[in-house]
Structures are given as structure tokens and as C-alpha cells.
């Protein structure tokens, strides 16, 4: 083992740590100087690359979604500029068709020169608040092609031998809604790449160019060696699963499958997406770079202790059918790539949960973005406002542990949610509720984490529209090992003047709203792990005390009958005999309920006899949650996976 290193142990360990520190310093500086509130809330990443563009170190706190994409953009800049790169140059790129994520993620890349030759590159990637396109924030869910999504930046030079290329920078900035901030972020990010360059030059000065160059390669080999050792220790085999996007807005009813087959063979992992659906008529498509990243991020979850670099990326292969939803090509719209991205991540969680049961994890809630923009009429000059919000939710139940409550989306666990007080200052919106949502956790022996609900009222505003980017209204967050799903996502609007609720669902854009309108969105809890009838009743009582679970759902989902002694003092007790009887009854009836005629279920829902949670958790039926109309194809798709993930794991009695 030890002794495989091309450098002496001290130099290797010191360089390995110093590379990571140099990247973390870059991140720290970006965080402290950025203008984009999205970057400020930690949607950014940083990397150090070797002279070939391979990633030698990525930041410890980087957002997951950027993992495994930075080397693609570095290489694309190298491809484009070739020998025409000089000391003091900084380049920009945001091209998803060249391995970038989506247009708002703009990367600044600086070649680092030692002895007149490039020894490394530093890269700072941040999510700008806007990059143009047809809607504020550059998320137009109605886009079919990239032309209305925002500005595509193929490799450009922003600094030429240290001189700021004002013309190019202003062209970029002028195609956004907030040019002053964009110039600020260009400066913040380019200075950050300089921080990393300074550290690398210090190392070159101390250890010499050759040693640092060897170190940049050695740290990748080191990670590769670690991963391959661990994969080789696993049994060879194949694991398959499917997850879904809710719909193709341009197609008929029916969920959009993403199929993955994982093969472990020796010290390699192969991910085969054959059978996945072709690209769809919305922005929920993924180009190859982000598919690669989803696999890397999903798999990295099972290797949490290893540093991130290209050594990790060398340990897996991807088979991506051309033109499928996970291999979209220019000019197909891909700004909503996070939807397929999270499906891939959760599928990988499911498959690796079989390989490493001690790290098993059920499905997490779906990320969601709300965009509201218009004129803020609270002051007489009516400035433009842009309310761009995202919520945390519940993560999946684990092997021996409940899921994590109210946690940021799995595509980027570093991402922070925003303070309501800051939002209320900046936007004509009053939030009336932002709380944990009772009964949102997917039931299981180990339940999912809890989601939240946020409800906001428009204050004085004009020319205001609302858009929403979410999913899993139909491909509802699922449980594993017998665990149950949580609940559907989707936004509800209540118009001022009380015309009742209008369910707008999980994907819509440019709906006009005005003063007094109230919109409310829940996030799902995580899926359950294990049969909920096996959950310790004492844990159910604790959940009732904290209002994570209601007394009613404790009976329906867990078969636990709880008597309230004194709610003011949080005193409850389990009725042991009634619980045993109820659990026996549920066991006897539940399989039949899951196979009940979906039309009957839909009718019971419309008549008010059963609730959304009953429909999902007891009958595995998918409806149009507004009208209550049955979605037959989605239901049969949902039931097929429910049978495999949940029913097959239930004990008969």
C-alpha cells in the first residue's frame, strides 16, 4: 500500500492538503465578495486542474451538482484557445453543451504559469443571478430550445495578460438583467482564481515545478486507487432501476422514464441508461456533462470521505443513448437539467443501497424553484423586483435512522435557504407561514425526513408573474425496503377576493398574479425505509409530540393507536392491544388496497372519502390533484415500481 507514491510521503500528503486548501481559499473569497445572491447562498464551486485540464482538487464545500463538470469546461477552454493562453489571462464559459451545467453557472478559468509554461488552471464557478433570456432568473420552463433561456457563453477571454477586456465583459453583462452585479461577480470570481494561483506558485517556489506537477497527477491516482480498491471489494453484479420525470408537456399523459443499469465488474462501475426516454418538450433535459455529474455526485455519496478529483471520475463509465433525455444536444433546452439530475442521483442511492446497506437511503424530496417578478409598488418609483426562492424538504429514511428533516435538495447539500426577513425587504411579499409540514414524512420503519410548507401573500405589486419549476407531483417521492411514499409536490394559488383554490401544480410559467393573491407550496418529506408496521410505537409517539405526525396518520400509516392524555403537556400513550389489532388488519388488507381499481380510488378521492395521502400511500394511484381525474398511465407506472420497492418487502403477517 504505502510506498505506491511517486513522491515521498511527506511531500505527497502536504501537496494533497495544500491543493485542497488552495481551492477552499478560492471558495471562501468568492463567498465573501460575490454579488449574486445565489452564489452567496452557496451555489458555487471551485477547482484546481492539472495542465491537461483534469481536476486535481475540488472544494470540500462545493455544491454537488457541479461535481464532475469542471474538468469538461476547463478542457473546452483549452481546446478553443490552444497555445493562445498567457499569464494573466482569465477565460469564461457557461456552455452546457460543452460540459457546463446550465447558463446561469458561469465559470472563470485562469491558466497558472510556472517557468513560462502552464502548470495548472484554477476555476471558479458561480450561479449568476441572471443571464438574460425570456424570464428573470433565466429559467423559462416553456423553452424548447436554448434561444429563450439565456446567453450561451462559449469560451471567451475576459482578462488579456492581466488587462480587463471591458468590451467582452460588457457584452456579457449587457445581455443580463443586472449588468452591475455581473461585472462585480466577474471581478470576485477572477480574483478568487488568483488566490488559488498564488498558492500554487508558492508550492512551485518551495517544491519545484516538477514536484508540483507530479503531485497534481499523484493526487488523482491516489483517489482512483482508493475507489477501485473499494469497488473491487464489492461483489460483481447488475442492479437496475427506473425513476421518472412527471410528464412531457409536449406529449400525452404518462411519466418519462429514466432507466439505469449499474454493472459492477472488478474494480469498475458501469452505468447504462439504455431504455431512457428521448428528450422532451420542456427544459427538463440533461446534456451529457450533467448526466456525468449526476452519476458522480450520486456515487460520491457512498464514498463520503474521499477527496474529489478526476481520479474518482475515472472509476466509472456511462453508456448514454444519443438523443435521450440524459444526452440532450444543442439547441435543446436544458436549463431544468436538475430534474433528471436528481432522478439519477436517487436511482443511484437506490442501487447502491443494495451494495452498501449500511449507507442505504430512500428517495429525497424534489428541488423546487419559485420565480416571481414584476414591479414593486410599495415605493413610488416602482423598481423591478425578482423573488427567486427555493425550499428545503425531507430526505429519505435510512437503515436504522429516520431521514433528515428539512434539508436542502440533494443536488446541492451546501445550498442555503434564504431568510424571510431579507426577502420581505427586497420584495413586495409577506410570508404568512414557513413551517414543517405535519405528515409529510414518508412512513417507514425508519420514516423519511419532514418537508415544509411556505405560504406567501403578494403586497403592492404590478405587472407580476409567477413561474414554478418542480417535479414529483406524479413521480411521488418513494420509499424502499417496504417503506411508503411521502406526498406530491405542487403549488396552490388563492386569488384575492376568495374564488377558492387553484392548483397550478409543479411546472408552469408566467401566470399573472396581483396584490392579495396567496400562493402556497409544500415540499415533500423523504420516502420511508422499511415496513412502517414495524416501526417502534414509542417513536411514533415522539413524532406525535412534536407534530411531525398526526394521531390520525399514526393509525393509518403505522397502525399505531395513540390516546391523547394531555396535549398541553405532550402526554400521549400507545394503546397496545388496539395497535396489535390494527396492524394485523392493515397487514391483511394492504396488498389488496394497492391493487384496487384506480377508477374506484379516484372516485373515492373526488367524493372526499379519502385524502391525497390515502390515495398515494394506500392505493399507489396518481391523479390530477386539482380535478381528481385518474392518470391511468402514470398510475400503472407508479404501481409497477411501488410493487417492487414496497409491496414485495412487506411481510404477510
Amino acid at each position: 500500500m504505502a510506498g505506491d507514491l511517486p513522491l515521498d510521503p511527506v511531500t505527497f500528503e502536504v501537496l494533497k492538503n495544500s491543493f485542497i486548501t488552495s481551492v477552499d481559499q478560492m471558495g471562501e473569497q468568492v463567498l465573501r465578495t460575490c454579488y449574486s445572491f445565489v452564489i452567496y447562498n452557496r451555489d458555487f464551486s471551485s477547482a484546481l486542474h492539472d495542465a491537461h485540464g483534469e481536476c486535481a482538487a475540488q472544494g470540500n464545500q462545493d455544491i454537488a451538482v457541479h461535481v464532475g463538470t469542471l474538468h469538461f469546461t476547463c478542457k473546452d477552454v483549452m481546446r478553443f484557445f490552444g497555445d493562445d493562453m498567457h499569464e494573466g489571462d482569465v477565460f469564461a464559459i457557461n456552455d452546457p453543451y460543452a460540459g457546463g451545467t446550465h447558463f446561469p453557472d458561469v465559470r472563470l478559468i485562469r491558466p497558472i504559469f510556472a517557468d513560462g509554461k502552464i502548470i495548472a488552471f484554477s476555476q471558479s464557478n458561480g450561479h449568476w443571478s441572471d443571464v438574460g433570456g425570456s424570464v428573470p432568473g433565466s429559467f423559462d420552463v416553456a423553452a424548447r430550445e436554448m434561444f429563450r433561456e439565456g446567453l450561451r457563453i462559449t469560451p471567451v477571454r475576459l482578462f488579456d495578460r492581466g488587462r480587463f477586456c471591458k468590451d467582452v465583459a460588457h457584452l456579457v453583462a449587457s445581455n443580463t438583467r443586472d449588468p452591475a452585479s455581473i461585472i462585480g461577480d466577474i471581478q470576485a470570481q477572477s480574483q478568487a482564481t488568483q488566490v488559488c494561483a498564488r498558492e500554487i506558485l508558492r508550492l512551485v517556489n518551495k517544491y519545484g515545478r516538477d514536484t508540483v506537477e507530479t503531485g497534481l497527477a499523484a493526487v488523482q491516482d491516489y483517489v482512483e486507487r482508493s475507489v477501485r480498491q473499494r469497488i473491487a471489494a464489492l461483489p460483481d453484479g447488475e442492479w437496475e432501476t427506473v425513476d421518472f420525470i412527471d410528464r412531457d408537456p409536449a406529449g400525452g399523459e404518462g411519466m418519462i422514464p429514466i432507466r439505469i443499469k449499474l454493472t459492477i465488474k472488478g474494480d469498475r462501475a458501469i452505468y447504462d441508461f439504455t431504455g431512457s426516454h428521448p428528450t422532451i418538450g420542456s427544459i427538463y433535459n440533461s446534456a451529457f456533462g450533467t448526466t456525468f455529474s449526476a452519476v458522480a455526485a450520486g456515487m460520491k455519496t457512498f464514498f463520503p470521505d474521499l477527496p474529489l478529483n478526476s481520479g474518482f471520475y475515472r472509476c466509472f463509465e456511462i453508456i448514454a443513448p444519443e438523443g435521450s433525455i440524459i444526452d440532450a444536444k444543442w439547441p435543446i433546452a436544458v436549463t431544468g437539467f436538475l430534474m433528471p439530475f436528481e432522478k439519477i442521483m436517487n436511482s443511484i442511492y437506490e442501487m447502491w443501497s443494495k451494495l452498501m446497506p449500511e449507507r442505504a437511503l430512500a428517495c429525497a424530496f424534489n428541488l423546487e424553484y419559485l420565480l416571481t417578478g414584476g414591479l414593486d409598488a410599495r415605493s413610488s418609483d416602482k423598481p423591478i423586483f425578482m423573488f427567486y426562492d427555493w425550499l428545503p424538504g425531507g430526505w429519505g429514511g435510512r437503515n436504522g435512522k429516520d431521514g433528515s428533516n428539512v434539508t436542502t435538495a440533494c443536488f446541492g447539500t451546501g445550498l442555503m435557504s434564504q431568510p424571510v426577513e431579507g426577502q420581505e425587504r427586497a420584495n413586495p411579499i409577506l410570508t404568512t407561514e414557513c413551517e414543517i409540514l405535519k405528515d409529510s414524512p414518508g412512513p417507514g420503519k425508519w420514516r423519511g425526513g419532514a418537508g415544509v410548507v411556505k405560504t406567501s401573500r403578494m403586497l403592492q405589486a404590478e405587472k407580476t408573474v409567477i413561474s414554478y419549476i418542480c417535479d414529483r407531483e406524479r413521480a411521488v417521492v418513494w420509499g424502499i425496503e417496504g417503506g411508503l411514499p411521502s406526498m406530491p409536490h405542487g403549488l396552490t394559488l388563492m386569488r384575492a377576493g376568495g374564488q377558492g383554490e387553484e392548483r397550478l401544480g409543479s411546472i408552469f410559467s408566467d401566470v399573472p398574479i396581483g396584490e392579495g393573491d396567496i400562493f402556497s407550496r409544500p415540499t415533500a418529506g423523504g420516502g420511508g425505509f422499511g415496513d412502517p408496521l414495524e416501526r417502534d410505537p414509542a417513536l411514533v409517539v415522539e413524532d406525535i409530540k412534536d407534530d411531525y405526525v398526526s394521531v390520525e396518520r399514526a393509525a393509518k400509516d403505522y397502525g399505531v393507536v395513540v390516546r391523547t392524555i394531555d396535549a398541553e403537556l405532550c402526554e400521549y400513550e400507545v394503546d397496545t392491544a388496539a395497535t396489535a389489532a390494527l396492524r394485523a388488519k392493515i397487514r391483511a388488507e394492504r396488498v389488496a388496497k394497492v391493487r384496487l381499481d384506480p377508477e374506484v380510488v379516484a372516485e373515492n378521492y373526488r367524493s372526499g372519502a379519502i385524502s391525497v395521502l390515502d390515495v398515494i400511500r394506500q392505493h399507489a394511484v396518481i391523479l390530477d390533484w386539482g380535478t381528481g381525474a385518474l392518470l391511468p398511465k402514470s398510475t400503472s407506472q407508479f404501481r409497477e415500481v411501488f410493487e417492487r420497492r414496497s409491496v414485495a418487502k412487506w411481510s404477510a403477517g
Binding site: G3, D8, V10, R32, S181, T301, V406, T407, M416, E421
Partner: protein, 675 residues
């Protein structure tokens, strides 16, 4: 009765250190005693062991881990939160992020108050500070009644936008005081009148939960001291780097969280200042961790971005201290892919390093230092006997064999990796903040700081290392060197182009009035009060602010903006002179200057002490015959060249070849590290 003693007590996990200074002579002596489960027993035991007559004590100051420990161990009294309807879960939702991004089995710890004890009342203030919904008094009384039934020991009141208008919070507090008398109530508009609900609520909740613990502790200690003759106020060190009296502890209990960590930073700054170095980096290396702090132009760096546990910020101004998991007991190990790692796992106090002979066979930094001859086989004046053979065995088996290195080469490798990790930590707090280490002195203390200090200074191009006379008890000394201090702040979000200097002056004046009242209440005479203003500013559109010193009276806004540009240039290496600048927050540091006793000044004696021994010590692969001095033998003015080892009860100093050392008039060892 002449009161001419100053006593400072620092209670750590293992030892309680008592530092006694005689104001008449400036001489300091140290008493070390074991910490006890109730820290007060250890303190009083140490006081009596040291033979202190408390009636002769003019000042008794104390750094305590009581608040920190209560938070970490969650041994907290049942506490409730009363909050705005719809916002029950602010402290549980937090910012929703995780500390470990990749380990899905590692969760952020639970909030200090569980959901069941967070109750809501209808009320609302809007973003303009207007009460859009008055407190529902009926509902408020109902909540109070329930909390009384639940027998809670403390209550935090946290309402939305209360930083702009605390009327509803105050009304709620009144009702609670009527219905549930004698229970401490913390309200967010008083504890921390700053924007961002989670940060403000979290600080307020931390304040409420530790309040009963801390108040009971300080009153018990105060009584014990008074019973034994102490006539003044007990002074408590807070994270801001000053002390406060029990009267202020009542309202700002959470300021004591992290109290102990601040002490080392203060001592380091003070000692460096005495030696003529206004810029200094403190390296406090103990058994399991190392605390790094930085002082620039005589001021400690202050942060408000701080927590005891991830996810639960305590937004009181705190001395910035970076703690890393590297200490004497850190384990050196080889990972599966063959890299030589150091820490963060530690052998702890037990079993401790291999050379303690308590069963650990993995090598630690201490074992490497023993193998290299840098540490002798006696520690703590002979109380701890080390077994060098066991140290060598551990280094041989753990590192030398796997890597095919010689024994001393392996020990050297362990020390070098540890030094590199500590150097990285120092870099993060210095170079990456725009400070040039060449302008700094490194103060090396803690049990292991002086073993590694010169190597780290060389790595960072810091020219000078200062080893204080009692490196192992420097934190206690820090408690002795503080002033009364309170920190005030207020959100002030306005563009510099729209800012009205008169309005800002008035806001500062209001803060100053509050500050004067509090310090006066604590018995500080007005001529001893120093007020320091600063303003947190940013380029409009930026999200983090930077503190800029502000004069009194405030003067021209344009001058403040200029100061901001320069500060931004220093810290981040760029400035945008044409970009608009915004104000974010006003800060006031109010100091009640406590007259400092002078340290005893020694005269050079010209004496040349004899080494107490010689041994072979390994530097860069060479075993050099090295003199070993006893610290107490080294007189003022004595200078010597490396290689040399200086041993004393609580620390060992390594002066490597190429470095030269001199004992200054305060008996610090000043080492010039040049090779």
C-alpha cells in the same frame, strides 16, 4: 485592607489554572489544580491551595466553559420558544444546509429547543417595521399558561422583523412575566436587533437555554467568593474578549459560550504587544487541537460568523479563533491508498500517546517528538514519565515500516505533516485574509506550541517566535489582561449615497447611551470608558460586509466610503472605486478600561546558565548533540543559538539549528527563526 492581588482562573477540561499577580511587584505565579465535575470546587480548592486571601484581591476574573459545555452536552433546562404564528420552525429549518455535504448518515445536531416546546402566537411586524398585526393578547396568555404548566426554566421570544420594532416582543414578555414570574425571558429585539430571522432567533434561543445554567453558576461562585472575603464583582470573560459582571450575564448569558477560547487569543495579543509586535498570530497547541488567532495593529480579529455547533449561529461579536484537530495526541496513520495522514483522530488524554504506556500503539505527534529527542522522557516536572522505547516502536511499526523509512526519517515525516496542516490553518486566517505573515510574530503556547512553533514560522516566513514564560497556562493569563467590554450592534441598511450622517450619528449616540448605562451600572467611572465605533459596509449588491472603523463624531460619509475601499483592497485584493457602497450594520464596542498591572521587568544579569543536560536531537535527519536548558535557569538577557532545547514544567521549547534565541525583560524567549 490593601487589595493588591489580581486573580484569574481558567477552567479547562483537565486542569484549572489560577494565575495570581501581585500589583505591587508585577510578579506572576501560577497554580495548577485538577478540574472537578462542579468547576467551583476546583476553583475554590485551587484558591486555597495557592494560599490566596480573597480579601486582598482587587480583581477576580474567570474564563469558563460552563456555557459551552452545557450547549455541547445538551444538559440544558427545559426551555420554550414563543414565536410568530407560521414560524414555529425557524430554528429547525435553519438555512437547511449541512456541515458534511457528502455523508448522508451524518446529520446536523438537533435544535436546542425541540418542536414540542416551540409555541406560536398571532402577531406580525412587516419589513418596514410597522405592526401589521398586534399581539393577540388572549393567545399570548394561553401560551403563557401552558408554559407554566410545563414548568419551563427559560423562555425565548422570537418574532419576525422584531429587529425593526420590538413592541410585540416586549408585550409578550410583559405577559410572560405576569403569568410565569421568575423565569428568565430573552427577547430577540434586545438580545440581537439584527436582520435575518434564523441568526437572530438562534442567538436568542442559545441565550435563553444557557441563561439558567450560567446565572446559577455565576451566582454560586460569586457567593462562595464573597463568603471567603472577596468584596468586588466577579468578572466573567466573554467571547468578545472582554469581561462582564454577573448583572450583564443575566441578560447576555450566551456571550459566555466560547469564553475559554478567547482567553488564549487575548494573552497572545497582549504578550506580543509588550514585545513590540502589534501584529501577531497566536498558536495554542494542546493535546487534541490547536487554536489559531490573529491580532493586527493591536486588535484581535472579530467575527460574528460563529457557532458552538454547526447550524446554530451565535451572532455576538467574538474573537476569531480557528480550531483544527491537530495536537500532541493526534494520530499519524496510513490510509488505504497509502498516504501518510495526521489527525484529526487523537489518542486523547487516555490512553494518550504510545509513550504514555497506557496501551495505545499507534504513533502520535508526541511519540514522533520523543523519537526525535525533542521531547525528553519527563513531563510536568517529573510527574509524567514517558517511555521512549514505546514511542520508537509505534513510529517504527506505524510509519517507518509501511513506507520503508528509517526510524528518524519516519518521525520527522510525522512532524512535518502535522506542521504543514497547522501552517495551512494559519494561512487561512492570515494570508487568505490579506495579511502578510512576514509582518507578524508567532506566539507559541499551549503544551505543544513551542515544540512546533519555529518550524511553522519558517514554513510561513514569519520571522519571530515568542514563547511566553508559562506557555501551558497562557489562557489563564489572558483572563487577567482584559477590560470590561460590551458589544452593541444594530442593522442599518442604507446606501452610502443616501445615508444621512446626522441620522447615523444619532443611532450611534443611542447605542452609546445604552453602553454608558451598562458600564456605569457595572461600576466603571466615565473617564475609564472608551467607545469604538465601526460600520459594516459592502459594495451595493454584495452579500457579505466588511467592518470599517468609524470616527466619533461620524464625519463625512465620503471618508467612510474611502476607508471601505481600502479595507476591501487589503482583504480581497481588489476595489471598485466607481461602484456604489452600502451600509449594513452599526457596531459599537464599549470598553471599561480596567487598570492593568505592569508585568515585572527584569534586568539582564549577564549570567550564563549551564545546560542541565545534553542529548541527541534529530533535525532534518541529523542527530545533533544538543544542550538542554531548564527554563527557570534562563535569566533576562541570555542569548543562545540553536540547536537547543528548553524544558519547563508545562512545555518544551525547540530552538532548531540556525535559529537564535534571547530571553527578554519579561522572560519571554524571543526566537529569530532565520535558517
Amino acid at each position: 485592607m490593601v487589595q493588591n492581588l489580581r486573580v484569574a482562573v481558567d477552567v479547562g477540561g483537565t486542569f484549572t489554572d489560577i494565575c495570581i499577580m501581585d500589583e505591587a511587584t508585577g510578579l506572576i505565579r501560577i497554580e495548577k489544580t485538577s478540574s472537578t465535575p462542579d468547576p467551583i470546587e476546583g476553583i475554590m480548592g485551587g484558591v486555597s491551595k495557592a494560599g490566596i486571601d480573597l480579601s486582598e484581591v482587587a480583581l477576580f476574573s474567570h474564563g469558563t466553559t460552563v456555557a459551552t459545555n452545557a450547549l455541547i452536552t445538551r444538559r440544558l433546562p427545559r426551555t420554550a420558544v414563543v414565536t410568530t404564528k407560521g414560524f414555529r420552525d425557524v430554528i429547525e429549518i435553519r438555512r437547511a444546509n449541512k456541515e458534511d455535504l457528502w455523508d448522508t448518515y451524518k446529520d446536523v445536531v438537533k435544535p436546542y429547543v425541540p418542536r414540542r416546546d416551540r409555541l406560536t402566537v398571532p402577531e406580525r411586524v412587516d419589513a418596514g417595521g410597522l405592526v401589521v398585526e398586534p399581539l393577540d393578547v388572549e393567545a399570548a396568555r394561553e401560551v403563557a399558561r401552558i408554559l407554566k404548566r410545563r414548568n419551563v426554566a427559560a423562555i425565548a421570544v422570537c418574532f419576525m422583523n422584531a429587529y425593526l420594532n420590538g413592541a410585540n416582543e416586549r408585550a409578550m414578555r410583559e405577559i410572560l412575566l405576569e403569568e410565569v414570574p421568575d423565569i428568565p425571558v430573552s427577547i430577540s429585539s434586545q438580545v440581537l436587533p439584527e436582520i435575518f430571522e434564523h441568526e437572530r432567533f438562534s442567538t436568542t434561543v442559545a441565550n435563553a437555554v444557557v441563561s439558567p445554567v450560567v446565572v446559577s453558576y455565576t451566582s454560586r461562585l460569586g457567593e462562595r467568593l464573597a463568603n471567603e472575603g472577596y468584596t468586588r464583582d466577579l468578572l466573567l470573560l466573554h467571547t468578545g474578549g472582554g469581561v462582564m459582571t454577573p448583572a450583564s450575564v443575566r441578560d447576555f448569558a450566551a456571550r459566555l459560550a466560547g469564553s475559554g477560547i478567547a482567553a488564549g487569543a487575548i494573552a497572545s495579543r497582549y504578550i506580543a504587544g509588550l514585545c513590540g509586535y502589534p501584529n501577531s498570530i497566536g498558536l495554542d497547541m494542546g493535546g487534541t487541537s490547536t487554536d489559531v488567532s490573529l491580532a493586527y495593529e493591536g486588535q484581535s480579529r472579530i467575527t460574528k460568523d460563529w457557532h458552538i455547533e454547526f447550524g446554530y449561529p451565535i451572532r455576538f461579536a467574538s474573537i476569531e479563533v480557528l480550531t483544527i484537530g491537530a495536537g500532541g495526541g493526534s494520530l499519524a496513520w496510513t490510509d488505504s491508498a497509502g498516504s501518510l495522514r495526521n489527525g484529526p483522530q487523537s489518542a486523547g488524554a487516555f490512553p494518550g500517546p504510545a509513550c504514555y504506556g497506557n496501551g495505545n500503539t499507534q504513533p502520535t505527534n508526541t511519540d514522533a517528538n520523543v523519537t526525535l529527542g525533542r521531547l525528553g522522557s519527563n513531563l510536568a516536572g517529573g510527574k509524567v514519565q514517558l517511555a521512549p522505547a514505546l514511542a520508537r516502536q509505534a513510529v517504527e511499526d506505524g510509519v517507518a515500516k509501511p513506507f520503508g523509512l528509517g526510524l528518524h526519517e519516519a518521525a520527522d515525516a510525522i512532524v512535518k505533516v502535522a506542521n504543514a496542516n497547522m501552517s495551512d490553518a494559519v494561512r487561512l486566517i492570515s494570508i487568505s485574509r490579506g495579511y502578510d505573515p512576514r509582518d507578524f510574530a508567532l506566539v507559541a503556547f499551549g503544551g505543544a506550541g513551542a515544540l512546533h512553533g519555529v518550524d511553522i514560522a519558517r514554513e510561513l516566513a514569519i520571522p519571530v517566535v515568542i514563547v511566553p514564560p508559562n506557555p501551558g497556562v497562557t489562557s489563564a493569563l489572558g483572563c487577567l489582561l482584559v477590560d470590561m467590554q460590551h458589544d452593541f450592534s444594530q442593522s442599518c441598511m442604507v446606501g452610502a449615497d443616501e445615508a444621512d450622517a446626522a441620522d447615523i450619528e444619532a443611532r450611534f449616540a443611542a447605542l452609546e447611551e445604552e453602553a454608558l448605562a451598562r458600564l456605569t451600572h457595572e461600576g466603571i467611572a466615565s473617564q475609564d470608558i472608551v467607545l469604538q465605533r465601526s460600520i459594516d459596509m459592502m459594495y451595493r449588491g454584495q452579500w457579505r460586509s466588511l467592518a470599517v472603523h468609524a470616527p466619533s463624531p461620524i464625519g463625512a460619509i465620503a471618508d467612510l466610503v474611502q476607508s471601505f475601499h481600502s479595507e476591501h483592497q487589503r482583504e480581497y485584493n481588489f476595489r471598485r472605486d466607481s461602484a456604489p457602497v452600502s451600509f449594513f450594520r452599526l457596531n459599537l464596542k464599549a470598553v471599561g478600561v480596567v487598570p492593568k498591572a505592569e508585568f515585572a521587568v527584569h534586568e539582564p544579569t549577564g549570567a550564563i546558565p549551564e545546560p542541565v543536560g545534553r542529548r541527541r536531537v534529530w533535525f532534518e535527519g541529523n542527530g545533533l548533540d544538543t544542550p538542554v536548558y531548564e527554563r527557570d535557569d534562563l535569566p533576562c538577557g541570555f542569548s543562545f543559538q540553536g540547536p537547543a532545547i528548553v524544558e519547563q514544567v508545562d512545555a518544551t521549547t525547540v530552538v532548531p539549528p540556525g535559529a537564535s534565541a534571547e530571553v527578554d525583560k519579561y522572560l519571554n524567549i524571543i526566537i529569530r527563526v532565520k535558517e
